[in-house]
Amino acid sequence: MRHIISLQLENESGALSRVAGLFSARGFNIESLTVAPTNDETLSRMTIVSIGDDNIIEQIVKQLDKLIDVVTVTNLTATEHIERELVLVKIDVDPSSQAEIDKHIDEYGGKIVDVSEDTYTVEVAGKSQRVNDFLEAIDALKILEVSRTGVTGVCQKREY
């Protein structure tokens, strides 16, 4: 099953490689990983999407918790949460396909953030599934480049 694991870790050099190294050394799977500073400058927030059965996810959470730089570990999937992912897609546009592409962008609440002579760069944000659906809706031959941020998320409760 797909799990979203959210970490707060010390904002120190090497913290990211400790987490990434743990996953490769123990053979855990990473679907996506995002990391950035938070409002507390001493902390980074990392969001990892991993796929595994309950035992593996339990081990992942425990092993992450064991890392000295990790301050908190939360399995967001086990609680009420919001997940978002953003994608930038560069799309080949010509007069014959433009109308259909515009329709999909509209349908998925996308934004055209850049236009060139024959391309659009489109931004779509939402749950990963929504991003997947958008990418599937666009004719694959028209997609020139895809760059996804990976999932980030927060727990809905005030505190956890």
Binding site: G21, K62, D65, K66, I68, D69, V70, V71
Partner: protein
């Protein structure tokens, strides 16, 4: 007081009560060595190879219970230390390793003797630090010792750039305490889990205590004894746990696992309630996981939550110090009536009567098992025994019953050949009055031979018991059993004359070729209190370690000497190490 980084480091080490450092100098640590030389209450042991430094600090830590300290230079100094660090990590040994690093201005430039020490060691340390700013140094040292020695202990590396050791600041003393929001190792035992465990224990008709290295590290011998006395439960111990509970006690079933006793493994298999104490269910213990303890409810006491449920599903987990957890169980069981386990003991005695450690003697050949038995006799069971890795390690564990903890010093997790000799040196420094024996083989000993020189320089007399069978015995045994006797590269031609070798290092060498010479030679060796003696004993080259659970088999599928001369395995087993 204005101090440079090197002086601050030494000051910190003094404040931590460090008395011995095992190390080897080099360019990046010259300032540290300069400061160390000016300090007269820390003894520095100049090893001959950095791996020896870390194993030395490791042996020292295992015997003393204190934090071992090693100091190496950048680049090859650090890479040579890695095997030692990984060894300590696998066995949860408290240790601080200090490595020099090139100056921060040239980090990343592929400077002379530069390696990414923090990157290389990341997966084999409990934590590591790179210090580039002298203002961080004292805090980092404080954190390093705190992390290394608390919770589940382990090695911590401090990589210090050379410019940090040279810079000067006004030093306002070593921090008295440290608070880390991301590291809270003290976990209080949960009362609810104790209740659940008690409920299982009260119903148990076939209970067994399975105790591991955590009982040694957690200094739990006394409480372990109280627990088994109060409950009358049998106890088996892992390779790493030997000595925490007296092996000669009637309730002890000996070691379990791949080369454990028949009674221990059969009892594990048939048990209805396994109480794991500071043990981590590794593959040498469990054998085939599908066949592991099929009837048992399992209670697992461990300080490390990630050990729980890692390989085996657990019914009740008690996270915390072994002592705290066992004490809580003892308290909770005080007025409770336990199930009658007379029938269980009767069954265990039947298994015990199989005498799985019996071995065949052959005239004209020295059996390796008999060497360990003679060693036990000559040292009256009171020696600290270190070992290398292989058949001799198993025989030492099987035939030298340890009654006290911190006397059996071996690389159980990583299985590092070369560990025994430097560890013996560290053991002797930690406990100078004790007799220290290093049980080794002609393969392992040649991996760290150079430390014989260190042992002369620092006068650390140990007795090297070399079970010389001319083979990499454990490799040969597996080739005999599982590779149709194709002995690929397990035979060493051209062995050195170990007697002359010992003598050239300034020690005493004794060669034993005949059975009748064995005991007199050992008596003579241990009489030489102030000398290191290398006893080279030619043992039966064809002897195998029994009993044995072949890879892929369960506890109840043990092979016994005399009954099953040949093991075989299945395809699944061949994939296992």
């Amino acid at each position: 007081m204005k101090l440079n980084g090197a002086q601050i480091l030494v000051n910190c080490l003094q404040n931590e009560g460090v008395e011995h450092i095992f190390g080897y100098p080099g360019g990046a640590v010259l300032h540290i060595y300069d400061a160390l030389d000016a300090c007269d209450n820390i003894a520095h042991i100049l090893v001959r190879h950095e791996q020896g430094a870390v194993h030395g600090a490791d042996g020292y830590a295992r015997v003393s219970g204190k934090c071992g300290v090693a100091l190496v230079t950048s680049g090859p100094g650090l890479t040579n230390a890695v095997t030692g660090i990984a060894t300590a990590h696998m066995d949860s040994i408290p240790m601080v390793v200090i490595s020099g690093q090139v100056s921060s201005a040239v980090i990343g430039n592929d400077a002379f003797q530069e390696v990414d020490a923090v990157g290389i060691t990341r997966s084999c340390v409990k934590h590591n630090f790179l210090v580039k700013d002298i203002n961080d140094l004292a805090n980092v040292v404080k954190k390093a010792f705190h992390i290394a020695t608390t919770g589940r202990p382990g090695p911590v590396l401090i990589d210090i750039t050379k410019d940090t050791t040279i810079a000067e600041i006004e030093f306002d003393g070593y921090p008295k305490s440290i608070n880390m929001r991301s590291y809270q190792p003290e976990i209080k035992v949960d009362a609810g889990q104790i209740d659940k465990a008690v409920a299982l224990i009260m119903q148990a008709k076939k209970p067994i205590v399975y105790s591991g290295g955590g009982s040694v590290i957690g200094n739990a011998s006394e409480v372990l004894r109280s627990f088994t006395r109060n409950t009358n439960f049998p106890i088996t111990q892992t390779l790493m746990g030997l000595g925490a509970y007296p092996a000669t006690d009637a309730q002890s079933l000996g070691m379990l696992g791949m080369h454990g006793t028949y009674e221990a493994n059969m009892a594990m298999h048939d048990s209805d309630c396994v109480i794991a104490v500071g043990a981590r269910f590794d593959d040498r213990i469990t054998g085939n996981l599908d066949k592991f303890c099929p009837y048992a409810k399992i209670i697992h006491i461990d300080i490390d939550p990630s050990s729980v449920g890692k390989t085996v599903a657990i019914d009740v987990a008690i996270i915390g110090q072994v002592n705290d957890a066992l004490n809580a169980l003892i308290q909770a069981l005080k007025d409770k009536k336990l199930a009658n386990i007379d029938a269980w003991w009767k069954q265990i005695e039947e298994w015990r009567s199989v005498d799985s450690m019996a071995y065949q003697t052959k005239s004209g050949v020295i059996k390796p098992q008999s060497v360990i038995e003679a060693l036990y006799e000559v040292t009256q069971g009171e020696a600290i025994v270190t070992s290398d890795v292989g058949q001799h390690q198993m025989w030492a564990a099987q035939y030298y019953p340890f009654d006290k903890p911190r006397r059996w010093i071996n690389s159980g997790g990583l299985g590092t050949m070369g560990f025994g000799l430097p560890a013996a040196m560290g053991a002797k420094l930690a406990d100078p009055k004790a007799d220290v024996a290093c049980v080794t083989g002609e393969g392992s000993i040649q991996m760290m031979l150079q430390e014989l020189s260190t042992m002369l320089q620092y006068n650390t007399p140990v007795k090297i018991i070399n079970l010389n069978n001319g083979y990499l015995g454990m490799v040969r045994q597996w080739q005999e059993f599982f590779y149709e006797k194709r002995y690929a590269m397990s035979y060493m031609d051209a062995l050195p004359d170990f007697v002359k070798l010992a003598e050239s290092y300034g020690h005493i060498g004794i060669k034993v070729e005949k059975e009748q010479d064995l005991k007199p030679a050992l008596i003579e060796a241990f009489k030489q209190k102030d000398r290191t003696v290398f006893v080279d004993i030619l043992t039966d080259p064809s002897e195998n370690v029994f009993p044995m659970i072949p890879s892929g088999a369960g506890h109840h599928e043990m092979l016994l000497a005399g009954r099953d001369e040949m093991a075989s395995t299945n395809d699944e087993g061949l994939h296992l190490v």
